[in-house]
Amino acid sequence: MKAKWFLLSIFFTLSLILSGCDNSLLVFDPKGPQAKTLSDTIIFSIIMMAGILLVVYILFTFMLVKYRASKMDDSYEPPHEEGSKWLEITWTIIPIIIVIVLSVVTVRTTSEVESKPVAYANDKPLVIYASSSNWKWHFSYPEEGIETVNYVNIPEDRPVEFRLYSFGPITSFWIPQLAGQKYAMSDMVTKINLAAEIPGSYIGKNSNFNGKDFAHMEFETQVMTEKDYEKWVEEVKETAPALTESEFDELIEPSVLGRKTYSSTHLEFSPAPEGEHAGHHHGNSDEETDSSHHMDMDMEDHK
């Protein structure tokens, strides 16, 4: 029986996914508050949807089993039915209620993951510019004055603000276990707020197709204790070479690279497209011109 087969497979897979919370699937294995919020939201929606599927599958199986021609009398002639006002209203209203519930959850969680993690509201965030070029990621720490390629180290239990932009095609910056993704574009700066609570190494990637070696555009996110992080920054400052403009120009040429570390950032000679450097100046220059400001305004509205 087809429907039963589906039902079983759905049930089986759902239990597989849900049991994955403590071991496997990346999205259900969060290591920080933002990813945790998203994981909870997703599990909540899966449970809601499983309920809907169950109703449809039960009705479907019932109809198929009960009203098959082979079980019917030859003389049976189905009745003419225009419909039923009350039934039709019922299956309009119930989905509307479900959509309202999901909408409330969506608005609340979207606003939550777009802002600084609640638990760290009073901490000063570590700002890291993450810019992409084909097919690598550049991480600039403006306050520390250091820059890395294809890996990023962050301290645990401290809010981190990634500011994203691109030196080429649109990319999408994603560390599944720490936060949801966001686009990096060439003409504006977007932001991701996150915090990591468990030291370890997490995969980060570009999820938006950007040409030939897209599949290799991954980086490692190393979450360290505050002490180890400070030590690493000091070490870089002492041992790594400075990043020159000509070396940076070479870096952003299309290629697949390993890791690199520098004791200065490209922001000094090639600033991010924000503020006066943004790609779009609509009308006079006093206007807000970059999207991160727009975003801040939106967030103010929701506080």
Partner: protein, 647 residues
């Protein structure tokens, strides 16, 4: 330009493709000449304005494109079946998933649906052709040559490689220097103009040419779905036309609409593309809903439950379809406010869609369900599509989408919507209306074997992708390392893809088998149908209805059978029919060459081909062609021959 830049070189698979293209062309030309069929081909097909033949040509082209897109899909699954596979390199994989997307949506799903609506709509509303038969032929040839142009890119010049959504700046000449994306902008443009004209044609046909007595609320549900689809086409396709024109200007004439500097906006392309692209998915799904409504009601032997709410929900879906495009890029970084609004509009679509699902379920209630091959697809649609639907709601939640965006979860979702939605529907419709066009049914046993292969393999292929997506596997990756753990589920998906292939091969083999051995249907009504198309003899004569039927209620033909009344009255009268003409075909050829020369920026030949196009239009403007009349005695003779012992 050197020859080795012109032809795609250095790839054994492409050389094989070139050889096979040449061989097939030689075989076709040779056999046409040998069997002296050139005249037949020209008179009966290339110049036809008959909606049924145009419909058949659309469906043949769609099946060919299904084959091409399917091979692309198989290659993709084979490449990713094991980690670090070397079957394809990055560039080829990128070209293949790009053409897979373009072909499956624009050159398979769309023409299959347009083919079915061409065959069925005039018959369902009791008309003798569409409102503008000549324009209909132009639509077909523009689609056909647009599709051929895109397919040519495979061997000449290189395929587009920036994804079917061709996001800028990736699709700009800076990052996609081959002519691949020129093919994209020009072939879609040519085919798109054809589609736009189809939309206009069917809107007018349905509004103006219904049989006497068939008010809007007495139209069959498939006709309703096409009416609404036509309106969506008319509003959505001009956006694509503009977007593609800007793309062409950017790539070939040095403008900077979507450029990274000088005030260009890359996301402007994404917005324009999805302002068209989201309504586009409803263009391919609403007709599917119409087909299922017909089939479920026919094989449950019951009228459609909640007809009015079915119509209202389709109208609601069509309006909402224009208000949700931003959900394709929640991750662009607009604020909470924008994302929330579009989340809610997107989820709202689930409400009318849910209403439809329940109405179908309640059409089955108290019915007498027979499990014919079209009905099997329609029934399988309900549970499988619902998975696609609920995952769609999950994706609609902006916050959660930050974790699904661009992953295999998304890929699984839209295949769960498009395959049981559109593909199952067109296959079901193809089995259902096949006897109407050809006068015999496809073999049920083979059809059911194909169905089970397709329905089960579909789930084996695509369900694992949901899990891969939640495990962080992004779409469009040509390779991955073994340490990611993505290997086993991708292998499972490959197994499913092989099963799907077997299913589709059975489907095609069934055409051959049934053509040779199937019993001819003499009734014209093999399924005990409900709407007007089943009142005509099969195959349907050129003029469709010898006498125009008069309709008094929904499912008029069903009630005329029940109550033993006649749908027609009066005597035969001479029938006015349009003449065949070669101008649409010639214009299509000229458009093809225009597009081809434009792709390579060969301006002089392009201008000449463009002038031929304009000349063909001018010819039509001044042409005096008032069609012809079929005399009464010829109608009588044809009807007698077709109805045979019946009359």
């Amino acid at each position: 330009m050197k020859w080795d830049e012109f032809f795609v070189t250095g790839e054994p698979m492409i050389y094989a493709a070139m050889v096979s293209i040449v061989l097939v062309s030689v075989a076709i030309v040779g056999s046409l000449t040998y069997f002296k069929k050139w005249g037949y081909l020209w008179r009966n097909w290339l110049t036809t304005v008959d909606h049924k033949k145009i419909g058949v040509m659309y469906i043949i082209a769609a099946l060919l494109m299904l084959f091409r897109g399917g091979v692309d899909a198989l290659l993709m699954r084979a490449q990713t079946a094991v980690p670090e596979n070397g079957l394809l390199d990055g560039q080829h994989y990128n070209e293949i998933f790009t053409t897979h997307g373009i072909i499956m949506i624009l050159f398979m799903a769309m023409p299959f649906i347009i083919g079915l609506m061409n065959v069925v709509i005039p018959l369902q509303i009791g008309a003798r052709d569409v409102a503008f038969p000549r324009l209909n032929a132009v639509s077909f040839w523009l689609f056909f040559f647009g599709a051929m142009l895109l397919n040519l890119s495979f061997v000449i010049g290189g395929s587009p490689d920036a994804g079917w959504s061709a996001y800028f700046p990736l699709a700009s000449t800076e990052f996609s220097p081959t002519v691949g994306n020129n093919y994209y902008s020009l072939s879609l443009q040519i085919a798109g103009i054809g589609t736009l004209m189809t939309g206009i044609n069917f809107l007018v046909t349905i509004l103006k040419m219904r049989a006497p007595g068939m008010t809007l609320m007495k139209m069959p549900m498939f006709t309703w779905s096409i009416l609404i689809t036509s309106v969506i086409i008319i509003f959505a396709f001009p956006v694509l036309t503009v977007a593609l024109a800007l793309m062409m200007l950017d790539r070939q004439f040095g403008t900077q609409f979507f450029a990274m500097q000088n005030g260009g906006m890359d996301m402007l392309w994404a917005n324009l593309f999805w302002v068209w692209g989201h309504p586009e998915v409803y263009i391919v799904i609403l007709p599917a809903f119409g087909i299922y409504s017909e089939i479920i009601s026919t094989f449950a032997r019951k009228n459609l439950y909640g007809y009015k709410s079915m119509v209202v929900s389709m109208v609601a879906i069509s309006l909402l379809s224009f208000l949700v495009w931003v959900h394709h890029f929640y991750t662009m970084g607009h604020g909470v406010m924008v994302n929330s609004v579009f989340s809610i509009t997107t989820m709202a679509i689930a409400v009318p869609t849910g209403v439809k699902i329940f109405n179908w379920l309640f059409t089955l209630r108290k019915g007498k369900i027979s499990f014919t091959s079209p009905m099997l697809y329609a029934l399988a649609f309900i549970p499988i599509f619902t998975i696609g639907g609920v995952t769609g709601v999950m994706l609609a939640m902006a916050s959660a989408d930050y974790q699904y965006h661009n992953t295999m979860f998304l890929v699984a979702h839209f295949h769960y919507v498009l395959i049981p939605g559109t593909v199952f529907a067109v296959i079901a419709g193809y089995h259902y209306w096949f006897p109407k066009v050809f006068g015999f049914r496809l073999n049920e046993k083979l059809a059911k074997w194909a169905f089970w292969f397709i329905a089960i393999s579909f789930n084996v292929t695509f369900f694992p992708l949901f899990i891969l997506g939640l495990n962080g596997m992004t779409r469009r990756m040509y390779t991955y390392s073994a340490s990611t753990g993505y290997g086993p589920l991708n292998m499972l998906s490959m197994v499913g893809a092989v099963g799907l292939t077997i299913g589709f091969l059975l489907l095609v083999y069934n055409i051959y088998w049934s053509t040779r051995y199937a019993k001819r249907d003499t009734t014209g009504d093999p399924w005990d149908g409900r709407s007007l198309e089943w009142s005509t003899p099969s195959p349907v004569p050129e003029y469709n209805f010898a006498k125009t039927p008069v309709v008094t209620k929904l499912d008029a033909f069903w009630f005329s059978k029940k109550e033993n009344t006649s749908l027609t009255e009066g005597e035969y009268e001479p029938i006015h029919m349009p003449n065949n003409n070669g101008q649409p075909f010639i214009m299509g050829v000229a458009f093809f060459f225009f597009g081809f020369f434009m792709v390579f920026s060969w301006w002089i030949p392009a201008i000449i081909a463009g002038l031929v196009v304009l000349g063909a239009m001018a010819y039509r403007t001044f042409e005096k062609d008032h069609g012809h009349h079929i005399p009464v005695d010829e109608i009588e003779r044809t009807e007698k021959a077709l109805r045979g012992e019946q009359s």
